[in-house]
Symmetry: D2
Subunit: 346 residues, 4 copies
């Protein structure tokens, strides 16, 4: 089969690889229909994740058809239409029993990281019963593939951890795909005001059309001053960090109201300065999280009912064999005005 293979920092190719086979009775082999590229994949390609070795097939999102199910897979059979969760969970370890699947002792985020991933014609999914979901009949595949990672990540790490509630004023720092995913799912809870902060006017205009009440281009204006002015000097109930650099995290520290929440989604490569000299008495909560995908069943329901339209996130479409070109587009997202790119193997 063909697959996108990482060959060290800056090196990748669309090349022939052996088709995966069942290794454990709990495995399933999935023929990929659609996949996509995550911001994390760009980090991998830069060499930022040293655990990813030369020769690894990248990708942890996808929709497809079961090609073969291991002998103890109970919930799926050949021909089933499935969503692949970015998180693999054994369902029985100490962390899985706490529904913290991200830290599954045998799984977690392993696809396209510690084992071969979904940017390929076929992929092996361990613990298929816990790591795949049935795609409902008549569902839109392009919408569903957004449930592999980006929507549960924006929702769980940003919205749930930010404890967004009706009437709240919240800020989302970063209007890239993950910030937009937080924006879409924050609206489940009817906050009164969603303020989106970014340095790219195009992304801010997208955010506005997707439900942000206000946008701030922090390259052009003082975001802290602006938010304090909007909130009568109090700050926001929740500040959602969706970038992953010190400056944006520290911006969140500066704009959160007493009693508020800083919900980190960003993947950070460096430490940040936590201003406890100001914050120790401010009754704030800071959370970090690798998505657990506990919300995936709920997200299916909101897609089916039309409360959520994840297809909005898709800006570009390619054939799977054009994936190198797709990486170029997604890697230059601001210029290309890209949010999510779809790769089709249909």
């Amino acid at each position: 089969m063909k697959a996108l293979v990482y060959h060290g920092p800056g090196q990748k190719s669309w090349e022939e690889k052996p088709k995966p086979v069942i290794l454990e009775p709990t495995d399933a082999i999935v023929k990929i229909s659609l996949t996509t590229i995550c911001g994390t994949d760009l980090h991998i390609m830069k060499g930022d994740l040293p655990a990813v070795i030369n020769g690894r097939i990248i990708g942890h999102e996808g929709v497809g058809i079961i090609e073969e199910a291991g002998s103890s897979v109970a919930n799926f059979k050949k021909g089933d239409h499935v969503l692949i969760s970015c998180i693999t969970s054994c369902g029985t370890c100490e962390y899985c029993k706490k529904t913290m699947y991200s830290h599954c002792e045998k799984g977690g985020w392993i696809l396209g990281n510690l084992i071969d991933g979904t940017q390929a014609e076929y992929v092996r999914i361990p613990y298929a019963d816990n790591s795949l979901y049935h795609v409902p009949a008549n569902a839109d595949e392009e919408a569903i593939v957004m449930l592999s990672d980006i929507l549960p990540t924006g929702f769980e790490c940003g919205v749930l951890n930010g404890k967004v509630k009706p009437g709240d004023t919240i800020a989302i720092v970063g209007a890239g795909p993950i910030g937009i995913a937080a924006l879409l799912t924050a609206q489940f809870y009817s906050p009164s005001e969603i303020i989106m902060i970014d340095v790219d006017d195009y992304r801010l205009s997208i955010a506005k059309s997707f439900g942000a009440n206000r946008v701030i281009n922090s390259a052009n204006e003082d975001a802290v001053a602006k938010i304090m002015s909007i909130t009568n000097g109090k700050g926001v109930d929740a500040a959602i960090e969706a970038v992953g650099v010190p400056a944006t995290f520290e911006l969140c520290e500066a704009i959160v109201d007493a009693g508020g929440h800083i919900a980190n989604i960003g993947v950070h490569g460096k430490s940040v300065t936590l201003h406890l000299e100001n914050l120790w008495s401010r009754n704030i909560t800071i959370t970090t999280r690798l998505v657990d995908t506990v919300s995936t069943p709920m997200l299916f329901k909101t897609v089916r009912s039309g409360k959520l339209d994840p297809k909005k996130l898709i800006t570009h479409r390619f054939k799977l064999e054009q994936i190198v070109e797709a990486y170029a587009t997604f890697g230059n997202a601001a210029k290309e005005k890209a949010l999510k790119v779809i790769l089709s193997n249909l």
Copy 2:
């Protein structure tokens, strides 16, 4: 009347001051029976809290007798025996309505800070109906005075925010009075293992006698390595910071398990380094809090039922007029083997 007055960094005296009078109909004047000294008072005396001005009477803890109640005070009358909360709350502002009394728009921590405090023969208490509590008949005054600040602080900022639950393994960093208050109140929730960390063997021995299952002197051994060895390399469910310096906060970052809680109690004068490059994917929660004293009614019940014996914290007793001497003892707590000192005006 006589009072302990702050006269700038390093300067204080026990001197004559005018007896306080009712300024608002919601005020009460309390004749102090017992008061105590808080670690925060030592910070004030060093000049660390610039909002405290020359001439201020210090102190925010105490038990006493109502000398006079303002015309609209409904729940208290002359002669009532009362506990003074360290937090003053108006009961009607936006933050009070959320029971975040620490951030009351008209109160919060003002006693011995922005208005005159309790280390005096008399004190004026604003919003008496919301800021005082009846002392039950036959209660031990020395136990009750520990409910002004230290016990709700250890409990709310450390134990509640740390989400301590049955079976948990928790670490408390700092075995001073506030760490001990967290230790005592953590036991309300039956954690399986409480590990106490300090650099003073005497304090650790006290902690052990008050319920710590293990103690680590971090001056003598590698606390991180020791905790990882105790917890099979996982870390603790909750790490409670009860010191207030960068090193102890960063120790908490290093010992918390995935999914765990860092509950800050310490008063920090400097920023700390938050290792988001490690923690972003660890599903942890960090909290800060100025005590809201929402737990005071509950703490009264646990004292009355014998579930909590706060008198254990008291190591030294003085007459109120000996307060300068008491400061010397408490300011040299490690050498004097002091936890809480009681000052009596009886």
Copy 3:
């Protein structure tokens, strides 16, 4: 002044009464601008609430202008535009400290019940600082008066207690004003499916236009069978009872899924049969509640932001002096196609 006075079962009149005066320093006198009639007022008029005595001025909802504020009222002054909460709270008793204002030891629901109420030109409001809210400039008074009772009641007793969450399937039994209030506020949480059940097709058509996804006329079809068919035999996540008779409560028992919630809003005059022989093993939660009005500040925010449009509930408008006629209309709500009637004293 003029007021609507209860004179025993079936007897009421619009008559001259003394204008109320300040009795306690915490009181305020409010000149009524708008008021409305509650379903509970109809119960009173029938004699169902024996605590309501002959001579009582009825009514517990309203918007108006402060005519006079008692000497210790801090947050309101003559001329302020205010919303009157149906719940009076002292803010300092044991229940108020738990924010269960409905059970305030000195207040609770007393207006138009144990003390004179709002269906009058003026009303005395005890504990004004805790029982009134500022009406924002430019707010629509007709929308705001819906926050006195019906919206917080539908929201707190129905939606919050029903733990409505994104993706849920919920049923609301009763499409009268209170059921509609639950319907409007349930949408804060983006349930996937809201099923409205009533016996009146007009009310069901209103419900549909206000956001119900499906309606069931239980006079014409088997509601249990229909719901089981909709939910693949499982039942609903939350069943909200908004009528107050045994049959509708037992309907809720029959349609709730394992793990689900029955949230009672209805005022019941009789006991009901609880089928524990079926429910003991079904992991369900049943809640009852007199509204605490803890959500009033949040509801103001959702009205201001346009997330909630309570004015939708208003079907009829009268002058205050026409209140006897308004009672006739509201008392015949189904025939008159009435939800809420507005009485104006402007």
Copy 4:
């Protein structure tokens, strides 16, 4: 092998049955070391559970040794020392994903009910990876077997659902084994007062020695009046029903304070009268639950740490082959002063 077999109401025998074999790759066969008899088993023997068919091996509690593990069982192997959970869970269905294992679509409470159970020399356990727990080295088997059912049931249905918290006053109605299990585990949360109600003085004396602060023999005194006197007319924060008849449930309705919880544990065969005419405005919560055994990992920790000593519940010991005699003793529990009986196959 030998097993205790149900042969219709009132009929049982200790007889030869085929040794169970692996039917699915997720099964394990366990050789029983210890088992016990549950109150539910007595109901089965009376014919109260018609789903239990003639020929069924009874029993859903036990500790033993893995005799054989199916091909896809990952966490257990031949020779492992295991606790059998009374609840079988597939780990992947909709209810398991919500950790409501009691309602697992393929499991739930099936052992000794819909499939053969543990009162036998060997038992087949479906979904072994999710339904068994490793017994720690050096653990006391007799203590551990109490974790199969009675302790998680008392804890989850009674204590967790009753939201028992520090300082609470709680009542437990029924001092049989399950009420005692609630009593032991309620103490994890340090309530101030635990009132135990029963009609048997011996059981009440046991309750007192196990931590109840007060006992009421409701055959001799008016339990409602007594509790109102103890609680200053307010009632209890949590009323835990541990009997399963209408009278005891209605007692709970009468003694719960406004804002309180009624947590049902009892297995009810009849409906009860719910006094909504009193309770509609009392802000109470009523819960039912079949144990989910989500707390089993936590209970292991509390046993290991000595916070919980479940062995206290054991009053009688028999050899497994004496099980008919053990049933006679347990079936006459009051007279025999029996709580839990242990059956040993060692």
